[in-house]
Symmetry: D2
Subunit: 365 residues, 4 copies
Amino acid sequence: MSHNTFGHLFRVTTWGESHGLALGCVVDGCPPGIRFTLKDIQDELDKRKPGQSRFVTQRREPDEVKVLSGVIPDEDGETLISTGTPISMLIENVDQRSKDYGEIARQYRPGHADYTYDVKYGLRDHRGGGRSSARETAARVAAGAIARKVVPGLVVRGALVSMGTKSIDRANWDWDFIGSAENPFFTPDAASVQGFADYLDGIRKSGSSVGAVIEIVAEGVPAGLGAPIYGKLDQDIASNLMSINAVKGVEIGNGFEAARITGEENADEMRMGNDGQPIFLSNHAGGILGGISTGQAVIARFAVKPTSSILTPRKSIDKDGKDVDVMTKGRHDPCVGIRAVPIGEAMVACAIADHYLRHRGQTGR
Amino acid sequence: MSHNTFGHLFRVTTWGESHGLALGCVVDGCPPGIRFTLKDIQDELDKRKPGQSRFVTQRREPDEVKVLSGVIPDEDGETLISTGTPISMLIENVDQRSKDYGEIARQYRPGHADYTYDVKYGLRDHRGGGRSSARETAARVAAGAIARKVVPGLVVRGALVSMGTKSIDRANWDWDFIGSAENPFFTPDAASVQGFADYLDGIRKSGSSVGAVIEIVAEGVPAGLGAPIYGKLDQDIASNLMSINAVKGVEIGNGFEAARITGEENADEMRMGNDGQPIFLSNHAGGILGGISTGQAVIARFAVKPTSSILTPRKSIDKDGKDVDVMTKGRHDPCVGIRAVPIGEAMVACAIADHYLRHRGQTGR
Amino acid sequence: MSHNTFGHLFRVTTWGESHGLALGCVVDGCPPGIRFTLKDIQDELDKRKPGQSRFVTQRREPDEVKVLSGVIPDEDGETLISTGTPISMLIENVDQRSKDYGEIARQYRPGHADYTYDVKYGLRDHRGGGRSSARETAARVAAGAIARKVVPGLVVRGALVSMGTKSIDRANWDWDFIGSAENPFFTPDAASVQGFADYLDGIRKSGSSVGAVIEIVAEGVPAGLGAPIYGKLDQDIASNLMSINAVKGVEIGNGFEAARITGEENADEMRMGNDGQPIFLSNHAGGILGGISTGQAVIARFAVKPTSSILTPRKSIDKDGKDVDVMTKGRHDPCVGIRAVPIGEAMVACAIADHYLRHRGQTGR
Amino acid sequence: MSHNTFGHLFRVTTWGESHGLALGCVVDGCPPGIRFTLKDIQDELDKRKPGQSRFVTQRREPDEVKVLSGVIPDEDGETLISTGTPISMLIENVDQRSKDYGEIARQYRPGHADYTYDVKYGLRDHRGGGRSSARETAARVAAGAIARKVVPGLVVRGALVSMGTKSIDRANWDWDFIGSAENPFFTPDAASVQGFADYLDGIRKSGSSVGAVIEIVAEGVPAGLGAPIYGKLDQDIASNLMSINAVKGVEIGNGFEAARITGEENADEMRMGNDGQPIFLSNHAGGILGGISTGQAVIARFAVKPTSSILTPRKSIDKDGKDVDVMTKGRHDPCVGIRAVPIGEAMVACAIADHYLRHRGQTGR
């Protein structure tokens, strides 16, 4: 699709700016009869909500979602049932300190989209980055919460696997630890928390920022999803992830590492299992061959660049073409990659839901 | 888009299987008045043509393109002028040794799409991989040759920057060397040729294969192209590159490296140039901010996995659910990444042409 | 497009049910720098607003529109300027007498979409017709108000040309009369008002309803708009008009009459005007040839069936498969065609705006 | 969609000009396992083939279709089985008397797209009308032949119901008569043949032309197809029919007549049948309510304007802005509406096939 819509049969249109009245999305094509609660959506939103630890922006938004259409309440009064018509969701912007952004109305912050929006559109809503703000991703997360319900048995989880120069130890991987109260980083490795905390404290105190790599794992993906040649499942996952603010790279399976190994090493061999079902003996491919899911876990990773808003002055220009030094005040995450975890999950869930419906449409299965 | 079409205003639909009568594409939305010759297209096709060195498949296809519609000849008789109607191009398949593929009608080759096509569709054209064969990419290259003409001043070039564990020395980068007759690898580093040749000879002789990383650089991209939020220029480039056979990772600018450095290091500072035009002092962003082109060179890299067709037997299963050992005979590239260079160029050119038209549509500039 | 979105570059997604909290739309692809006021939108909405005369439903909705995103205020504080990002508009539902609709939760009203929604989705929001209610068209009218501003010089006006068996006298055509306070019918013929009023009073009092034919005329449409072969301007206008509730037929230019006359009679001859511009000597084609605008007025007509909600009992069945007699209480228009005039205008304006941007994209003109 | 593609999941892209080397289409999204023969397609093409009687153009084209991709042969060697990949079909142009069209390179024929193509694109392929020629519709008919196979039990038939001022007697309706060798008009009324023949002979001999109205009836359409709000089944049928050359009006069910009758008359009442299935007691709605199929026959009509190419001189201008009198020589149908019957069938079949897949995708039924 284009502009502000993604997906084909499960289609999401988002709207809204960082400092407007509200932001939201329209989920179109959700099958009828899908059951979910407001809490299902709110729980996902709460994961990416700012203001939860000293490692993320101190902007405080309740991010309370309203579902305005496309559902009828079940008899229990809590469960919503989709009717097949568009589901419109809205989140009000509450804590908008627009005054923080006075200067950047005229100055182009390096690494931000200030310059390019001005070049493209000739004008922009500069407050908080306007449409280019990561605040837009709240709408994606809300959509993703519904996408998760569309595919029976689907479980999509994400984890931060590295931050700047520090990485987790994959031997310690524990999905359950990610939701833990002592884990402000979405790391699956409990032993990594202290190191990440110390490292990020240093970064934050020096007025700097740092990037991260996030891994998303989708289990319960039926085999056969994907629409070759130009709507491959991995292609749409890559597209969805690359559309997240600050993302500069995407990998499927062993990704760039695949370019360094031999065909023998990279092959995912197969055998018939005792239950008469095919078994893959490894998953270098990340669960996708020829753009179509194999039935294994779908694995994707994406790289988030360091937060561009830093307290260290950087050379830039302003709207009048004058040289300036820009130092971004305001409330910002020293590592935006942390909050990208639930966003990445949502984008992968949406891609899978879309292909689930498309596959069913084309093949009847 | 979906299935077998990509692009929005500059839209390309490809069709054809490896061992069918022909393959081709329809380029829809090409502006009227674009001038090109058959040779312009043929030159691009010749770059990816098999049978050119011992390092690529020995299948010999003339890959001669016919333009069936959408153009009128100029008075010189050689130049074709687009009329704004769909340009249909066709390439006949000539050298189809289907007998080579007898066994794989029933066996699932690891790393190939045999299993997933069967699971998805319930049947498949197994000859040469059918639709999942890299032969489909000839159609993309033909489309890309026209895309290059759509954006005035656009130059899109690609280079192989690593193969397996071997990398080029970027200090030796020479675009002119890539077209050289002594360069079977699309490497920009003349000093790398012997090393690559020895390395790949070893791989080939051992019946193995290896992957590669390709870098595409697009110069002359006007500032302002890209359609946030879900048709970002980098997103569409990532999508286009990820749709190429065997690609497992995509990066924009410094890509995954961005996740390892600080905000200060990653910032692309700006100053006003002497000519009154803004200048970026670096290009970590790969020419794209917030999904919109900055006017700098657009830089993308992608990782190609090792050729899955190898002479070493691998464990697999067949259609009847029996365990088998598969060894892929037939003619195959030991490193499919080499021939991916012109394909990557074409896909990037198509994404830029599409956004050039979309930007013009939305903004009138 | 599909589902709940129409348009390609100027794209409108609507959402909302008759008796939900709100309804609205997202206008995506609006060029930056388009200036409009809330009043521009509200004026269009007020035209289709219910409760304005005894000839339309007595439901009273203020239909007050909010613009939630995609604009920045001009210095005058009243004018809004589009930023190129999606414009989200919302209209709250206020006067929802859901109790009126108790019975139709189970009974299928003939002519309504009750049965088909249940067959398709397995469940539905029955209150007021839910998503299939004409209330959804408020969102289209809001979008159309912006579309009108996108094409410089565009004027789109509509008129009711017949109601049931009564027609206007085209010799009396007066656009200015349509907005008159004494004109509850959008008729361009002042002499027709009394006749329409008497006729419709009779229909209303007998518990019946009647259909209408609406004509839309768009002036100021630049020559060259339209994307043959499958996005012809007339095709997209026909599609947009046919998507309006209760519409059963669409004509361009002299429409079905064209099938009855000869080639000589139907030809729109041309001559060069004194100003050096081509002149058409007639406009049987309705301003469109080969799917492309000629520069003449674009003329379309559509037929609206009689309101299906009538007080006369009709045979039907209910959800349990029992025969029932249905009599639709509630507040309904005896001729929904009347209020279809501003909706038809909006849909034509949106089609033209979309093609204006697409033409500019493909041709640069 | 746009430009030269229609459909969403069952998507058809056509290409080719009247006097180019060939024309064709790509059918994308056809489900795997659909079985058809070349003869199935050829039979449909033969219906619209020129040169079959004195009432249609004497251009003689074999219109022999080739299927280049997307199928594998069944064991019988005759049946083709779709693989789920794009089906590319090609028809060569053989009888191109381009010399007939010398003058119209510069002159704008009234009623044709000559002027608008030149205004839009700045240049055009004038030979035989180029892309705007009805010859393009051969590709649609080929696509429609496959669409018919996609929906089990679907039967789509068309008939000419009026020509100029002459109409059939619906009491004589006999589908079987349409394929009869004595029926050059696709009329379902055997008694009408002599009258039509005399009438059209008169038209032809006077160098004139005349229009027609065609009715398409689709039986076996499952209830529930259609994607409200902006992909209604009737909307997509209207769009598809309006895209056919020379069509100026489209109706669903009783169409414009619906605007003249009362709600009681127009209501399609229901009762439960003896078999426990709902029965509609009439079909004024043409099988579609709220944009969704009811399970009844889907009925659409469209009006074709008189052939614009006539031997009587008409006033026009040429490319240089000079007044000219145009008289169209060449071989033309005196009533293009006749050959529009199989084209209309194909376009309706494609719309239904598309919605069949979309419905299955969204609802799983």
